[in-house]
């Protein structure tokens, strides 16, 4: 594979564009300039600076047309943004022109993690250190940060670990992940007797966990079963629709879900077993440790799953679905399994949140949240547990940090502009994520050189209707 990593083979169309085009004439100098990579990057960086100014600029409104755009681009602020992006351009250009020297330095710096990280004991040690930190550090925080730790970081780390199974391990795209969270939350409300419809018996929220897991899994199987027979991108749009439907159903079925006003008074967790009595109240820290427990549980479960027969089947499906099928792997079964496992994790998170806040309403389950969890997984690294944990923690912590920091105020609503940009930038520059899974990175590189694929997006089950028509190998 090393021989074809050169520029020329990768960029056939750029090669073609180097031959002189007819009709260049007068603009020849300009055209030649535009083909210079440094110039091209400079133009991109200037445009990027203007876009950055737009994003970070003031809010506009429809009444005064384009006031937001004027406020952003006709303001000294624009020069700061340009300085930032052009600065990045300078760095990149320097790096390109002094590649050997940079390599010399960065090679030495990166040598240590490269030598040490593959060692299993070192990685286990890092995990333990992280775990110890996660236990010891939070009690020293003030109540604001403890709240952030539970509601913004903890829950989303759990959700990211769950979605990582779907997106990372099985290579499927689930855009309605929050729907299963809603199912978990409403299961909690139902079994604790807070919905207008009453359950056969009232349970402590703790006993709801297995039921919520089952319900969410069932929903996953019912939704994924039919859809996963088809091309993988249908799953994305069906889950997107499903996320919307769950919200509409929760809104409309007033007699079952309590409608748009939501459900109140969902009880907190409590334990009365073998003389131990404990009640989770309003304080955040106990919930944090509960979530931490579930995160550790999920990490252990998914780590062993990844290295089991199931995990190898997922890998095989990702890398070459046809070959996997030919080798006797029931690809549909394993895809549905991944989808359902992911769904169950989301259901667990739903139960925790419902019991912690004590209140559930349909408006909590927006598509934006599903996208947010996807961003966390992509940012951290698809298929990498460490990536999901660290990516989610960093990306959920940073906005909160910036929000309370006096220097960078921003509008909460603008967050998703940045998240959208992160998705595009990650896909262009670092598709394997912040802390990549080695296997996944290798797959992406191989797929880019035309060997196998790195997802389960092609026609699924061989009996599926589209298998004969789809042309996934189209070299576009």
């Amino acid at each position: 594979m090393t021989t074809i990593s050169g520029e020329a083979v990768n960029h056939p169309e750029r090669m073609a564009s180097r031959s002189p085009a007819p009709g260049e004439g007068r603009y020849r100098a300009l055209v030649r300039l535009s083909r210079n990579d440094d110039v091209r990057r400079f133009v991109i960086s200037v445009v990027g600076g203007l876009v950055l100014a737009l994003i970070t600029g003031p809010e506009g409104n429809g009444v005064q047309m384009l006031s937001g755009i004027n406020g952003a681009l006709l303001h000294p602020h624009v020069f700061i943004c340009l300085a930032v992006t052009v600065g990045v351009w300078v760095l990149i250009t320097v790096r390109h022109h002094f590649a050997r020297q940079v390599e010399h330095v960065s090679g030495r710096v990166m040598a240590l993690p490269k030598a040490v990280l593959p060692d299993r004991r070192v990685r286990a040690g890092l995990w333990l250190a992280l775990f110890a930190f996660a236990i010891i550090y939070p009690p020293t925080l003030n109540s604001f940060w403890q709240n952030v730790l539970v509601e913004q970081i903890g829950i989303y780390v759990l959700l990211a670990i769950g979605l990582n199974v779907v997106v990372g391990y099985a290579g499927l795209l689930d855009l309605g992940y929050i729907a299963f969270f809603a199912i978990g939350a409403y299961s909690d409300a139902y079994w604790t007797g807070m919905l207008p419809v009453h359950p056969p018996l009232h349970l402590n929220p703790f006993w709801v966990f297995p039921l919520a897991i089952l319900t969410a899994m069932l929903a996953g199987v019912l939704l994924g079963g039919p859809t996963l027979r088809l091309r993988g991108d249908y799953l994305a749009i069906v889950t997107l629709g499903f996320g919307e439907i769950i919200q509409i159903v929760a809104n409309n079925l007033q007699g079952v879900t309590g409608g748009a006003q939501g459900v109140i008074n969902i009880p907190h967790f409590s334990v009365h077993v073998a003389g131990i009595k404990y009640h989770w109240g309003l304080s955040n820290l106990p919930y944090y440790y509960l979530i931490l427990g579930f995160i550790v549980l999920a990490l252990l479960a998914y780590f062993s799953l990844e290295h089991s027969k199931v995990g190898r089947a997922w890998t095989a499906i990702r890398e070459d679905e046809v070959a996997a099928e030919a080798a006797g792997i029931n690809t549909l079964k394993y895809k549905v399994m991944a989808f359902a496992i992911g769904a169950s994790t989301s259901g667990v998170a739903g139960v925790i949140v419902a019991s912690q806040i004590g209140f559930v309403e349909p408006g909590d389950f927006t598509v934006q949240l599903s996208i947010l969890i996807l961003v966390l997984v992509i940012f951290g690294g698809m298929g990498s547990l460490a990536g999901a944990v660290v990516g989610a923690a960093v990306l959920q912590w940073l906005p909160q940090f910036l929000r309370v920091h006096p220097l960078f105020g921003y509008n909460q609503l603008d967050l998703y502009i940045y998240f959208g940009a992160i998705l595009i930038l990650m896909m262009i520059f670092r598709p394997e994520g912040l802390i990549p899974s080695r296997r996944r990175r290798r797959e992406i590189v191989l797929a880019e050189h035309g060997v196998g694929s790195a997802d389960a997006m092609e026609s699924g089950h061989s009996g599926g209707g589209l298998a004969a028509v789809a042309n996934p190998e189209a070299d576009l």
Binding site: N10, L54, I237, M427, I428, I444
Partner: protein, 308 residues
């Protein structure tokens, strides 16, 4: 029977919605034809068209009330502005979110993710720049009952939507079937590799396909905005339904998209009388799942290459 009571008015409403779905669905179908990918950001192409036409008409019409030939002119300008806005965004989207990945031959998942990123980026940026409330497009014509048909009063704006949509659909169908550009699109849809060996510039064809889809989607954004106003959130639901329409008719199939759009619009509106307006989105989604289960290739079957 529930739908016999108000059959004609809902049928007319359904067809009016259906024409919009068809226009948006064509964007999905054309892009799917050449790339075998769902363009997740098409909803934002639609929304951009709505905003572009709003800004142009707001500047031109203001508070005046045009009538007669002026109305026709303003509708044409609105469509033009919407189409331009949609095409511009579609073109940029292809350049930023798709082309760099295509160069690298990235896995499909990467395309979907970057398209979703693009969609959320545009969606929220529009919300920030143009305000979070719906804006009303100044009326280019006086809306009111135009004529009655089988007891259904047909509003002027339905007539406008139908005429504009039919004209555009016929033009696109002919462009794809008869022009050099259409030949290129069909060639890439049938077999991209062979097409490139035959001298088709694949990158250019893909760009053009995005632009055509953007023109239609943007114009649909204007027609939609006439009735419902424009807002940064306007794209999501119509686009999801248009996708359903494209799948219903057979994704990758131009006439299928039109048929699917009209059918979906009608079914959805008749379901309003039967089940209730709250559930119309659920019905549309139910149709999507049912089609995928029963006949995943849609009514007319797949493949852009063979359709025209």
């Amino acid at each position: 029977m529930c739908f016999t009571t108000n059959f004609w008015p809902f049928l007319v409403q359904g067809l009016a919605d259906g024409f919009l779905y068809a226009l948006i669905a064509l964007g999905y179908t054309l892009v799917y034809g050449v790339l075998q990918l769902i363009n997740f950001a098409h909803s934002e192409v639609f929304m951009s068209g709505g905003f572009a036409s709003y800004f142009v008409l707001e500047a031109l019409i203001g508070t005046s009330q045009p009538h007669g030939m002026a109305s026709v002119g303003y509708v044409a300008i609105g469509i033009g502005a919407g189409a331009f806005g949609g095409a511009l965004v579609a073109f940029l989207l292809e350049r930023v979110a798709y082309r760099p990945l295509r160069r690298r031959n990235a896995p499909r998942l990467a395309f979907l993710i970057s398209a979703i990123g693009g969609s959320y980026f545009i969606y929220n940026l529009a919300g920030k720049e143009f305000g979070r409330n719906a804006l009303e497009i100044p009326a280019p014509f006086l809306n009111g009952p135009a004529f009655t048909l089988f007891g259904a009063t047909i509003q002027t704006d339905y007539v406008v939507v139908a005429i504009c949509a039919i004209a555009m659909l016929i033009i696109v169908d002919r462009v794809v079937a008869m022009t050099r550009l259409g030949k290129g699109i069909r060639a890439v849809a049938q077999d991209a590799e062979t097409a490139s060996l035959m001298g088709v510039n694949i990158n250019r064809v893909i760009s053009q396909t995005f632009v055509i889809g953007g023109l239609l989607g943007g114009a649909a954004g204007f027609l939609f905005g006439l009735n419902f106003g424009v807002a940064y959130t306007m794209g999501f639901t119509p686009a999801l339904k248009a996708f359903t329409a494209a799948v219903l008719g057979g994704i990758g199939n131009i006439r299928g998209a039109v048929l699917g759009g009209l059918l979906l619009g009608v079914i959805e509106n008749l379901s309003v009388t039967c089940i209730g307006a709250n559930w119309r989105d659920v019905v549309a989604f139910g149709i999507l799942v049912a089609v995928l289960l029963v006949r995943p290739t849609g009514i007319l079957g797949e493949r852009l290459g063979r359709s025209a």
